[in-house]
Symmetry: C2
Subunit: 213 residues, 2 copies
Amino acid sequence: MLKKQQLYQQFKQDIQLQHWAAGQVLTQQQLAQHYAVSRIVVRDAQQTLLSEGWLTAHGKAGMRVPGFSAAEAEELAMLRLQLEPLALTLAAPKLNFSQLGLAEDVLQQMHCGKALPPYQRGELNWQFHRLLYQPCDKPHLLQLLDQLHQQVSRYLGYQEHALDYAGTSADEHQQLLALLRSKDTTAACALLTAHISHAAALLVQYLKNKQDA
Amino acid sequence: MLKKQQLYQQFKQDIQLQHWAAGQVLTQQQLAQHYAVSRIVVRDAQQTLLSEGWLTAHGKAGMRVPGFSAAEAEELAMLRLQLEPLALTLAAPKLNFSQLGLAEDVLQQMHCGKALPPYQRGELNWQFHRLLYQPCDKPHLLQLLDQLHQQVSRYLGYQEHALDYAGTSADEHQQLLALLRSKDTTAACALLTAHISHAAALLVQYLKNKQDA
DNA sequence: CTAATTTAAAATGTATACATTTTTTGTCAA
DNA sequence: TTGACAAAAAATGTATACATTTTAAATTAG
């Protein structure tokens, strides 16, 4: 596999697991040495991670590991609420049973085996949602959603530790599939909206508490 | 100035002016030679342009200059309509007169001097809108909008040649400012929606005609 | 002691050279 | 002729070396 991609994944995962502290400033050389690759490889991965929000620019030299805030979590939820129901509305009429089957497979992977690491859980969760939106056939919309979920997944470490949300989330996912199978697009979108709001509210609440302490 | 940024701007502009034909496949070496820089510089610019949609991937080697389609123009308009009124709603209450003044300055630059090249006209147009949205204080929303307008600006060459829209557009911009000055957020959003729809409809119509011919 | 300027160190930008992968070309057998 | 396979060409990935820019430190003037 390409070193650039290896580093990209490893580094992203390390940020999510908070092996690099929020606020810390990192240099290309530091990372090149730490991960035992040349600076070129770091530069390539860096640019991608910057554009995806896993890193933020820090003056002209260095990149900063971004922190977490309730305000940001709230904004991301707002944007999801603005775009995901739209995607589902467009996609629902075109969803066939084989696609719903794929989504169900992902769901099973997600909830049967216990104790998945956060990055894997987040990956599967987005795979599930993505499969439902895919048939909307709007590449730019799907790309924006991919980006948003990159951001959201930064917070998944928190959700994992703080919230006992897995059970409710599983139920909501199953209900969503049932509504889509019965072609009740309106109800599916309403449920999706509630699903996103619910998850976001818990996360925001947790972050606010943590902020006070 | 950094060569990477020089190349980034020059190349983007060349694509917009269709000096590189849509569908054409370009290699790093080709571009490095053509623009007289090293491949490293091309790689850096390439990655940015890929993530912004000015180029698309083409297998494992080479990058393709993307084409234009009515469907894509329609999708971009849909996304603008979904996000820009939201941004304006959030920003309008916080807009002060000095900010509105800045916007008016941009408008003057845009419509007084005649015959601006397309990339400059597009830049100013987005500067105007961006100034109005800025106070919403939602970095991710603003970032998504920046991206969307990168895409839209790819089409600006067409708008320039095909549509005699400048007059109407100028009027709508002035009206929008007036409504914002009088703190009529609702009306401003309605006008913004009409403004985006109007411009998009003309562009889509033009592209559909061209597609038939 | 503060602030400004100079100097050294460190970090990033860029070019070149080499390695690996991918694409194309050409050959041969069915 | 067609298709599979092998070899050559071309393109991208990666490392190293050097240039430029940026940051930090040190020095000196006020």
